[in-house]
């Protein structure tokens, strides 16, 4: 038997590996969406699945996002585990009524009689020179909805392990894949079917002076910033939130108790973002540990610019370093 370790895996390939693993081990797992079957998805996340698992389990839908969101609900009530792909997060909004008013509520409103083990996958975020409506980060919309989990992987390993966990989870998960890092890095991934925990932050780097809290594609810039800060003698702890809702406040508060300083980094607009919830939770739970105000490095409160200006919108390594210098100075 060959080693389960697969080398040089990109994040999007890890998504594909996790889907293939789980479909191979659980015949209730169904993949549906636009262009997911014959074409293997516009990002190739579902490539090869139709050949391996057949046309009944890998379904090209009509071009209708409300339908994709709602059909998955009906399937789920019959004991299937649908993994529904929205081609881009910018097109998920037509499905929001189904996700919010039904998928998120089904267990509660039937008192556990029916439930929705659905994964709604969508590539999200900017940075790939995509057309209008293809680059937003609106995870906060879903993080506000009770009954949903919102999960964002930031590496090939975490994409693999968190997607397995999301599919196995008996409740709906909005799984947002940062497409800016779909192919930015390659890692070795153990294709052994082992899931990673949901509702848990991942401490990617330990440090004593400042806590950097982030998720998704911004993990990349945040780790680079931590490297630069280390050269300046600043020891930064880097936490990948991973499950942005429900939030693992415990890990965040423990880190703040140690460092006393926090910078939150996210690509989404600042106001009403998940960073605001994290900042409020830290203010409520660790105020006396703080030696400086919590600072956010985020996208601007505006419409995602078209791609000629998207780099000006996105948080950069220098922005993070400057923010840390600001909180360290206090």
């Amino acid at each position: 038997m060959s080693s389960p370790e697969v080398r040089d895996v990109t994040l999007v390939e890890a998504v594909n590996m996790a889907l293939a693993w789980e479909m191979g081990h659980d015949e209730s797992v169904i993949v549906l969406g636009e262009d997911v079957a014959t074409n293997g998805g516009v990002f190739r996340a579902t490539v090869g699945l139709r050949d391996r698992f057949g046309y009944k389990r890998v379904l090209d839908t009509p071009l209708a996002e409300t339908l994709i969101a709602g059909t998955a609900i009906g399937m789920a009530t019959q004991g299937l585990k649908p993994v529904a792909e929205f081609q881009f997060m910018g097109f998920i909004y037509a499905g929001m009524e189904q996700i919010i008013s039904h998928a998120a509520r089904m267990r509660n409103r039937t008192r556990g009689r029916l439930h929705c083990p659905i994964v709604y996958r969508a590539p999200f975020g900017g940075g790939i020179h995509a057309p209008e409506h293809h680059s937003e980060s609106t995870e906060a919309l879903f993080a506000h909805i009770p009954g949903l989990r919102v999960v964002v992987p930031s590496s090939p390993q975490r994409a693999y392990g968190l997607l397995l966990a999301a599919i196995r989870n008996p409740d709906p998960v909005v799984f947002l894949e940062p497409k800016r890092i779909y192919r930015a890095v390659t890692h070795s991934v153990a294709n052994n079917g082992e899931a990673l925990p949901l509702d848990t932050c991942f401490t990617l780097r330990e440090g004593d002076d400042v806590t950097l809290v982030t998720w998704g594609a911004c993990v990349m810039e945040t780790l680079q910033a931590a490297d630069l800060l280390a050269e300046q003698g600043v020891s930064a702890e880097v936490i990948d939130v991973a499950t942005v809702s429900p939030l693992d406040r415990e890990t965040l508060l423990c880190s703040v108790a140690k460092t006393g300083r926090v910078v939150i980094v996210h690509e989404a607009c600042r106001s009403g973002g998940v960073g605001a919830e994290i900042a409020a939770s830290i203010a409520e739970g660790a105020f006396l540990d703080l030696q400086a105000p919590v600072v956010r490095v985020t996208g601007y409160d505006t419409i995602m610019p078209y791609y000629r200006n998207e780099q000006a919108y996105l948080p950069k390594v220098t922005d993070i370093v400057e923010a840390v210098e600001q909180v360290i100075a206090l």
């Binding site: 059909t71 609900i73 009906g74 189904q98 409103r109 008192r111 009689r113």
Partner: protein, 359 residues
């Protein structure tokens, strides 16, 4: 110019408004026990409905949508569905729910503000009542997809109102049913009104059934106050669906005899004459007349049935009113399979409050 396609929509009616056959009746008419049992369910539904409205008017139930005028359609749906089929309702399907095994107490709990009203024990796969218009249509095609994926000889009935046919959810769902040959029967209950908006405003199409044609499904119109027309159409459509021959749309034409809900006042937008005319077509009276005319019913049986329905409803009301509210912690307990760590603190706060303690 050559004609490339031709379409038609059939329409069925067997009984006139006085219950007299207009034509040879379908095979369903010879199943006397089923016909009488349909009548009994219609009367029970109407008795329940009047009581639910009275409970709302006296502050003992929340906003409630009267089923008046829908009893025949719901009863036919309930009778035509097999226990292994799946029912995907909207919110005015009381007659069908009763036949599916939903208790009257559960219906009262739902409209009386208690989630346990949807924890149906006797039809565990049926979808709960859908309030957001037409959203249930997508669930129906999802259920039907699961049935097709597993090659099962089961089918789905999905109800939607005339207003609901204007929504994308309905149109996207019937489109999928046609494209994927799904075993789902959409029953468009055309009661002429979406709150105050008349049927004519919803669509320029002459019939709602013809929307089926554009998505590759057969469409059929029935007089929704004619039990025989409605049950025949449903039996046929469901048999077709279970046999792998695909879905269909039945437009069941009726009239909403009540207000939209207890929060509505229909006198603001419709005339007394129109309502009076609609009452003349009432399907329950029509079936009762038919039963009388054929020696299958009499005044004694009617009296006994009325008394039985009253006592059944009274018992349900008693059980409903005696049901204590759930613990407030239930609002978190059923959100996910288990309460996430991040919600434990909120749960403790609720538990403290429900015990009368300080948080």
């Amino acid at each position: 110019m050559r004609k490339s396609q031709e379409f038609h929509v059939d329409s069925t009616r067997y009984l006139d408004e006085l219950g007299k056959p207009l034509d040879d009746l379908p095979a369903q008419a010879s199943d006397i026990e089923r016909v009488v049992s349909a009548y009994r369910n219609m009367v029970l539904t109407r008795t329940f409905d009047a009581k639910a409205i009275a409970l709302q008017r006296t502050g003992k139930c929340g906003t409630y949508p009267s089923v008046l005028g829908h009893e025949v359609i719901g009863t036919a749906i309930g009778q035509s569905l097999a226990p292994s089929d799946v029912f995907v309702p909207y919110y005015r399907d009381q007659a069908a729910h009763i036949l599916r095994g939903v208790s009257l107490c559960e219906l009262l709990l739902y409209w009386g503000g208690d989630e346990r009203g949807s924890a149906w024990k006797h039809c565990p796969e049926d979808l709960p009542i859908a309030v957001p218009i037409a959203t249930q249509c997508c669930h129906a095609v999802g259920v039907a997809s699961a049935i097709r994926i597993r090659d099962e000889a089961r089918a789905v009935v999905c109800c939607v109102g005339d207003g609901g046919t204007s929504k994308g959810d309905f149109l996207e769902s019937i489109n999928l049913a046609g494209a994927w040959h799904l075993p789902v029967v959409f029953v468009v209950i055309n009661n002429q009104w979406a709150i105050s908006t008349p049927r004519s405003v919803q669509s320029g199409a002459d019939t709602l059934a013809q929307k089926a044609i554009g998505v590759g499904l057969p469409g059929h119109i029935v007089d929704g106050n004619d039990y025989f027309a409605t049950i025949e159409a449903l039996d046929t459509a469901l048999e077709r669906a279970r046999g792998g021959k695909g879905g269909s749309i039945i437009e069941a034409v009726t009239y909403r005899l009540g207000d939209h809900t207890t929060a509505d006042d229909a006198t603001r937008y419709r005339t007394a004459e129109a309502l009076k005319k609609a009452w003349e077509a009432d399907g329950i009276k029509r079936l009762q007349n038919y039963l009388h005319q054929n020696g299958l019913w009499d005044a004694n049986k009617e009296q006994a049935l009325q008394a039985e329905c009253k006592s059944t409803v009274d018992a349900a009301v008693e059980a409903y009113l005696a049901t204590e509210p759930e613990s407030p912690t239930a609002m978190l307990d059923y959100l996910f399979e288990s309460v996430p760590a991040s919600l434990q603190q909120q749960r403790e706060r609720l538990a403290g409050k429900s015990d009368g303690g300080e948080s």
